[in-house]
Amino acid sequence: MYIEITNAGKTFKDGGEELRVLDNINLSIDKGEFICLLGPSGCGKSTLLNAMAGFDMITEGSIKIDGKEVKEPSVKNVTIFQNYGLLPWRTVQKNVELGLEPKKLSKEERAKTAEKYIELVGLSGFKNAHPRRLSGGMQQRVAIARALAVDPDIIFMDEPFGALDAITRMKLQDDILAISKKENKTVIFVTHDIEEAIFLADRIVVMAAHPGRIKSIVDVHLPRYQRERTSDDFLLIRDKVFEIFNMKHIPDIEFVI
């Protein structure tokens, strides 16, 4: 297994009160898989992602990536945040070059690599613009280009499309799916949007709160490309997820004698 989480747990101390944010998490992820962590707020999905990305350690158990215990963030595993994390004082081009700067590349190579990924996300015309000039969707594209530019093994995405409008969101979902398959990246994607999870994931890890735990893992047996949001299979899986969240309303049956 590529990512191996065993008995992972995390307890916060909040003024004497102990808060169990992650409890007994066990999860194995294969290389190239697209995993969605799905759940309501407070279920620890972002905490789990941050722990995998090395930003925020777990207090018990272990998280191993490629056989190595995660202790700190790595250039091989890039995180994309909901609020983009772009540096406003750098142009699009310079933002994408950021991760390339610690590498031993010539200036030209760096610029060329950055340009390639800016083109991949469809922003060639904006490479000299500052992030503030761009819409939210475009800013997130820049963040995606910046992540891809360092050729990471894993991309962690923390509700990356949460701040975008529905239409932009669907467009970006299409794009990230296509890109992740084309570049063969492992993606761990946090969301609270059920349809987003079904549209993107190979497997959906459904989480629940108090304490944050894995409730169920749903295999999404849908074609990897061009999933149809309105197809029967799609709706079937949606039904299943709704059931896991106990959100399916069974109509009251009236008995008339």
Binding site: A53, F55, E72, P73, S74, V75, V78, T79, F81, N83, G85, L87, P88, W89, R90, T91, L98, G99, E101, P102, H130, P131, R132, R133, V150
Partner: protein, 254 residues
């Protein structure tokens, strides 16, 4: 801000100011020696321009101002970046800074004159002190206020210790630092005149003392107005530079 300082506003504003001055002059009974008319002050200014006296003093003052202000801002920003980053150290320095900060730079004047004598140095030191604390404290707080996401991103992309300072910390804190540098300009200019009134035999501040000693109220008023004008020009210049740099930086916060 540009709209606020349109030519029409400036002319009307100054016209009203001079008018009130003239009315006060005509209604008061101080007499020319104590309260000169706008015309008298103008004539004194023309006189100083013609004999070049005013330009020599402006030059002297500007040199002192530039030396004190620029060295102060650079020191304060560099120190502020370091102390803002190493919060543990700042905790031990902050109490003393808070003690020194409310002391008017002028209170140090006796020592400054005793140690450095009369001349350029006292004014430079006074300006240095005047600009130093606001810029230092503002820089420290700017570093503390950096959005943690920038540091997360830097860490993720493997940007290490020295580089993180000029690649992330300084640019991220820059807007707030620029703002404090701008505010400190006004403070520093105020204290230039004060410093020169006590510790110098030249410059715009000395011009005030000299005019008083010669009982030249008209020269005194002319000098006061010149000091105000130069302060205004310096402020506008810095505003222009600030605007330009902020555009390079990627635009101000919405």
């Amino acid at each position: 801000m540009k709209k606020l300082l349109s030519l029409k506003n400036i002319i009307v504003s100054f016209a009203i100011f001079i008018l009130i001055w003239q009315v006060l002059y005509m209604t008061s009974d101080f007499g020319d020696a104590l309260f000169p008319s706008p015309l008298k002050a103008w004539q004194a200014l023309v006189e100083m321009v013609e004999n070049g006296y005013i330009f020599i003093n402006i030059g002297t003052s500007m040199y002192r101002f530039a030396a004190g202000y620029i060295s102060s801002v650079i020191t304060a920003v560099l120190l502020g970046l370091v102390l803002g980053w190493f919060k543990g150290i700042f905790k031990y320095i902050n109490p003393v800074v808070q003690l020194l900060r409310p002391i008017s730079p002028m209170a140090w004047m006796p020592f400054i004159v005793l140690w450095f004598g009369i001349g350029d140095v006292p004014a430079i030191v006074i300006i240095f002190i005047a600009a130093f604390f606001p810029v230092l404290l503002s820089t420290v707080s700017a570093v503390g206020n950096i959005d943690p996401i920038y540091l997360k991103v830097a860490k993720n992309f493997g940007i290490k210790k020295p580089e993180i300072f000029w690649k992330i910390v300084f640019p991220a804190a820059f807007p707030q630092i620029a703002n404090s540098i701008h505010l400190a300009l006004g403070t520093a200019w105020v204290f230039l005149v004060a410093g020169e009134m006590v510790g110098s035999q030249s410059g715009l501040g000395y011009l005030i003392i000299d005019a008083r000693n010669n009982l030249r109220a008209d020269t005194l008023l002319a000098a006061i107005i010149v000091i105000g004008l130069i302060g205004l020009i310096l402020d506008s210049l810095l505003k222009l530079i600030e605007g330009y740099v902020m555009r390079l930086w990627g635009g101000a916060d919405k």
